[in-house]
């Protein structure tokens, strides 16, 4: 390739005639700059990712083949023993059930309510920006702070939620002790934080739906509710898939809320006295960082990773099927 770019005159020394060798070196440098700069520019990401992202992920598999303790200094190759143990580990499956339970209680109502709020927000109204900003206030709070506040709200004796329930004649609920109610409490925290975020994502997608569709439906006499289910929801299908997958990845890794919800118990990674709200991530953390079983912790990490992939795929297929059936 011939370099046709003119050399900037003011960059050259003024007095002597143009130095041919100098110009040549400049153009060679420029070509080198063109060739190498792109790789130089993208390299920081790859360096960081390879060292702190890819390597740990692969190394997790390696660690999972060992009986590995950092404090005790144990490092003993056990092959697939950890995986064999995992399959029959009742505590692990218990935590899987907890994670899925909380996940369903959070994702399903959350996305349904988000859809309805988005539909409401898409009307022409006063103070639209204020309402939108209000919806994401929960998102800009810290997860740990919110978990602490909600744990107090769900307190059996002094919590406001039991007080409100009492006003309508419901007996106080021991939110931390009951397995089902603790799931509800944790799902409430997740829902509170993420509903507005999902509503805004849906709103953005709704605004891209051509308005003529609704006008045609209205002329044909379709009610608003019918329009919502027959036009809005099918048109939002890709967005719904996106939010479900994001929620799946987040839900399978739920950690902060249940850890702080267990405040006051001896080991908060247990998720309650009988592990009633211990999630898989807590179980992994407990094994590795509390009980010095890094090998087994790594095994759990891989299992969760596989669970996330399978479950995301299932969700994806289910929603696409549901959409196609309409």
């Amino acid at each position: 390739m011939v370099d046709l770019r003119p050399v900037r005159p003011d960059a050259e020394p003024a007095a002597p005639p143009p130095d041919h060798r100098h110009a040549k070196r400049r153009s060679r440098l420029a070509r080198l700059d063109m060739k190498l700069s792109p790789y130089l520019f993208i390299s920081p990401f790859y360096v960081v990712f390879l060292i702190f992202g890819a390597f740990p992920l692969v190394f997790t598999l390696w660690v999972s083949l060992y009986n590995w303790g950092l404090a005790s200094g144990t490092r003993e190759f056990v092959g697939l023993e950890n995986f064999r143990f995992l399959v029959s580990d009742a505590d692990f499956w218990h935590s899987v059930v907890n994670t899925f339970g909380i996940f369903f209680l959070s994702t399903v109502p959350q996305l349904l309510i988000a859809l309805l709020i988005a539909n409401t927000l898409s009307r022409r109204m006063r103070a639209a920006t204020m309402f939108r900003i209000g919806m994401v206030v929960p998102l800009v709070t810290s997860t740990a702070a919110v978990a602490i506040v909600f744990t107090q709200l769900f307190d059996r004796d002094f919590g406001m939620i039991n007080w409100l329930l009492d006003l309508v004649g419901v007996n106080p609920i021991d939110w931390q002790v009951s397995r089902g109610w603790s799931w509800v409490a944790l799902a409430t925290m997740v829902n509170w934080r993420w509903t507005g975020y999902n509503a805004l994502i849906y709103l953005a997608a709704m605004q891209a739906i051509p308005k003529d569709l609704y006008e045609a439906a209205a002329i044909d006499g379709a009610s608003r509710i019918k329009q919502f289910w027959r036009i809005t929801v099918p048109m939002l299908q890709p967005t719904i898939i996106f939010t479900v997958i994001i929620s799946t990845i987040g839900g399978m890794q739920l950690f902060v809320e249940p850890v702080l919800f267990g405040t006051g118990t001896p080991n908060r990674m247990d998720g309650g006295a009988v592990h009633q709200f211990q999630t898989v991530t807590m179980y992994m953390f407990d094994n590795a960082f509390i009980h010095d079983r890094y090998g087994y912790g790594a095994t759990i990490a891989w299992a969760v990773f596989v669970l996330i992939i399978i479950f995301s795929l299932l969700n994806f297929l289910a929603i696409r099927r549901a959409g196609g059936a309409k």
Binding site: P38, I42, F49, T129, Q152
Partner: protein, 296 residues
């Protein structure tokens, strides 16, 4: 997963849709009732946090509960910073350092790489971009155990670089900046700068970066918020005596879980920087979410 792209940046500035049927999209009273109800639910827990933080422990369990702020915020915050187990001042400083350095570095490296992917020609570009998209789907928490082992090997555990260096740039940031750069920076501008003899980095610095400012701002905001909030990794790798602010409030929740006013003063101060950011940049945050800029 490609829906994560940024399809119509600046759609807000586009033309208003034409309404042929008057009244079809107007809000009804029910709309306002629903939204005001949702708004109250959104804000109530934060309001309650502030109410408790300004009260004394005696009145928190009162029936009916207090609903207005009291006058004890100062003394509660005083107790917070005097608390021997929270290391609260240290936590605040650490969090500020960590969140700002991660934010600046992420915006810089992500926009640099995003520019390269969007506007420069090089061998293997598409394949490399694909690997970046693939990395976005890896749940980061899953690598935490070997990451911790790496930190032990490097001798970084309980030092702040352990929560900074692994997050200096993210695949998500690169991809987001690439999407924005592809449409926000005209090729002619880059060509013109080349003709003028600018080096590639000079083009980035003087031509591309200014054009990327809106997207860089959104990325910066979200990176700051996420880093400020990070909990699990700091909990694993830092020790309670040298915490981030989230670990400080965790220390409080651990040891003083019946001292609500102290805990809530802590959470209020921990949330405050985020609320300030939000009040100043609320509109940009809304725009960012609506254009798919935030990954959960």
């Amino acid at each position: 997963m490609t829906t994560i792209s940024l399809p119509a940046w600046g759609r807000r500035n586009g033309k208003r849709p034409q309404y042929r049927l008057r009244g079809l999209w107007d809000a009804s009273p029910l709309t306002y009732v629903t939204l005001i109800f949702a708004l109250v639910l959104s804000i109530a827990p934060i309001y309650w946090m502030i109410v408790v933080a300004t009260r004394t422990n005696e009145v928190v369990g009162d029936v009916p509960p207090p609903v207005t702020p009291g006058g004890n915020l100062g003394s509660n915050i005083g107790r917070l910073f005097d608390n021997p187990d929270a290391y609260f001042a240290k936590g605040l400083v650490n969090s500020a350092v960590v969140a700002s350095s991660v934010t600046i570095s992420t915006v810089f490296f992500a926009s640099l790489a995003g520019f390269a992917f969007a506007k420069l020609r090089f061998r293997g570009k598409n394949a490399l971009l694909l690997t970046i998209i693939a990395t976005m789907m890896i749940p980061t928490q899953m690598g935490i155990i070997p990451l911790y082992m790496t930190m032990v090997k490097l001798g970084w555990q309980s030092h702040m670089q352990a929560v900074i260096v692994p997050f200096l740039v993210t695949g998500f940031g690169v991809f987001m900046m690439r999407q924005y750069a592809a449409q926000a920076v005209p090729d002619e501008l880059i060509e013109a700068a080349r003709v003028d003899g600018c080096s590639t980095f000079r083009i980035y610095w003087s031509v591309v970066l200014p054009a990327l400012r809106p997207a860089a701002g959104v990325l910066g905001l979200f990176t700051f918020m996420q880093t400020w909030n990070d909990f699990m990794w700091p909990l694993a790798v830092l020790n309670p005596e040298n915490p981030t602010v989230q670990l400080s409030i965790n220390n409080l929740a651990n040891a003083y879980f019946k001292d609500y006013t102290l805990m809530f003063a802590g959470t209020t101060v921990a949330v405050l920087p985020l609320l300030v950011v939000f009040i100043v940049f609320g509109r940009q945050i809304i725009g960012g979410i609506m254009e798919g800029a935030l990954k959960a």
